[in-house]
Symmetry: C2
Subunit: 426 residues, 2 copies
Amino acid sequence: MSRLPNIFYAQSGGMTAVINATAAAVALTARNHPERIGKVYAGENGIMGALEEAMVDLSRESDAALNALRYTPGGAFGSSRFALGTPASHPQHYARIIDVFRAHNIRWFLYNGGGGSAGTSMHIANAARQAGYPLAVIHLPKTVDNDLAQTDFSPGFGSVAKYTAVSTQEAALDVASMCRTSTQVFVMEVMGRHAGWIAASSALAQQDGTGAPHIILFPEIAFNEARFLAAVERAVASDGYCVVVTAEGLAVNNPMVDTESVIATTGHGKDKLNVHTGKAAPYLAALVGQRLGFRCHFAVSDYLQRSARHIASAVDVEAAWRVGETAIDMALAGADQVMVSLQRKGVRKVSWGVVPVPLPKVIGKEVCLPRNFIRRDGFGITDACRNYLLPLIQGEDYPPYHQGLPKPAMLKKIAVKKKLPLFLMP
Amino acid sequence: MSRLPNIFYAQSGGMTAVINATAAAVALTARNHPERIGKVYAGENGIMGALEEAMVDLSRESDAALNALRYTPGGAFGSSRFALGTPASHPQHYARIIDVFRAHNIRWFLYNGGGGSAGTSMHIANAARQAGYPLAVIHLPKTVDNDLAQTDFSPGFGSVAKYTAVSTQEAALDVASMCRTSTQVFVMEVMGRHAGWIAASSALAQQDGTGAPHIILFPEIAFNEARFLAAVERAVASDGYCVVVTAEGLAVNNPMVDTESVIATTGHGKDKLNVHTGKAAPYLAALVGQRLGFRCHFAVSDYLQRSARHIASAVDVEAAWRVGETAIDMALAGADQVMVSLQRKGVRKVSWGVVPVPLPKVIGKEVCLPRNFIRRDGFGITDACRNYLLPLIQGEDYPPYHQGLPKPAMLKKIAVKKKLPLFLMP
């Protein structure tokens, strides 16, 4: 059996349309280095796979199956929202992970996630160092929320941005045709509890910066009911209809909003309003209907938006792939405790360089929309924001179809043989 | 000025991703007959255009602009939900329409809509006959609900079916990767107040007839809370997660359901539960969360589903086009008081013939899922249903993109000069 060092790769947090492209690139690029890399193991259910010694051996998958991952949304090996804690609070978790890595000669930990998993990556790096176990840790960015620091954007975001812009354009054409005698206001709720990047991307559907979406509600801007209703009225007066795109994290928990009315309308307590998807759109639709008497429809795109591989951005897919590919190059170059970062280059034709940035620079930061990306009135985006967003949704990268449906990757998922006793979660 | 007879074409009711393909086919096919057909006028806001003498002259549009309609969702000329009434109850409406048609030498009325507009078409035909005005009436089917009688399917349905199947497959891959430590149940609400065709189409996402969606809720089947919750539990026990697709018309208004609990959960009165989009999914998600303790997410696809031209079914687009094309052929062949109907042919390779059917056979019928299309347990579809649905989602027909977004048709929309006094709506 090969004594070459192995790689542990895991997916973390909410999924995206393109995270499996990163996984495929990791596995396929590692194959180009049989003299230095043993096997790539994928953790089942993210970091749970390390705790439970539950891993899939990617060396047993064909090139074709791995390439098909490029077109498959979700997380092929399962993700996790399990909170490991810190090495101080939960030393047994970290000790177990090091045990599993040692037992399987895993010398590289490649963690594909957002801000939380960047922190976890650092904890694992520290625990390994303390245990005297040689482990290089590389964080691979992924999040639809686009709130990671030190990277131009996060793979996954470009595709949800494209889905949101396309869906907004399409739904707006529908509402525009209905508004004379039926629906006048359409509200679409997108993800984003604290950061309004996805909501902002809906503005790309506007022709010349005007028209639908007429109003965008950002978590970064305090929701003001009176100003919102006035803006809806203005849009209907001018265009006959109004398209509203709201982030799920509608900023209602602030002194400017009539919280009692929100609670009465939704039937939910104040604490629930800012924390869970599917509340903002029904609330706004009911508010508009009750106060202005307009007929409203609403959509909640929820998981549809982040899994919509069928309308992924080619730029985003390419970025996800390059992050995986470059992680292997960095691993072989001796990188440790870094995140694989995308750096925007070029003026006429936008392109991205891929460079390592030290993990500590990434951790504990949540990048929201800067104020100069939000229009002065708080209901739209600026040219600076548009110039940032537009390159990210360029190009289509359609999956192959079979019998009318996308053909997901079919992996064998052969389990790595366990060598350690069962770990009972404390 | 030409004294050739003109065509009045109008769009009615809820829009679809492909109704503009029918419009384009009408206008372009009419151009092939300059010796017999004068101009094609499109009613602005559907039948309102006839009442208000507000029409767009399609002869002023380029072939390229009309061809671009093939890729543009919504209703390019506006639709209407205005209820004309009957010739008996509202004779002034019908008299006005005949006046407008006479003033503009309109001899063909092509109405593109669902069941309601089939009835209106017949009323207008009768009113014209009574007035001694020579008018041929042809109904062009369109509805995402697929509830029209006397046609194999209605253009618009194939595309929403494809969108629903693709979105279900994608979201299921996402939930499957999250279920170990996060979301276990995902509920997607689709359109369909009385007919479960769209909900049924989600089943095409299943591999070999099993897996996600684990549960489909049809308006045709009484909702039984206990059986539903038991089915959710079974799915989570067996697969780790459960995907539920519900029609908006969740059949809760029946003796089998605990209506009080529904009202308590949603905060809506009983009368609202069965009639408006966006109620069923939040209700079911809350129910599952409260009763079973599973973490739930829900999506309401609302207008997104019916305007999703980016993932339209090629079969559906082709059908929409052929309906428009054939309507012109039928008009020239002297057809009157007919609907353009799609008739399924072939065994190995499914294809459709396009034939006229008498309008009276269409009117007053709402075709729901036949019982033999619904699985015995009420939570899925049968092979007969699958064999019916599968041909309708075949093929992709992607719109052209510009700067990362679909490029909608840009019409000049030159208004037909008004000849009559203003009509004041009574």
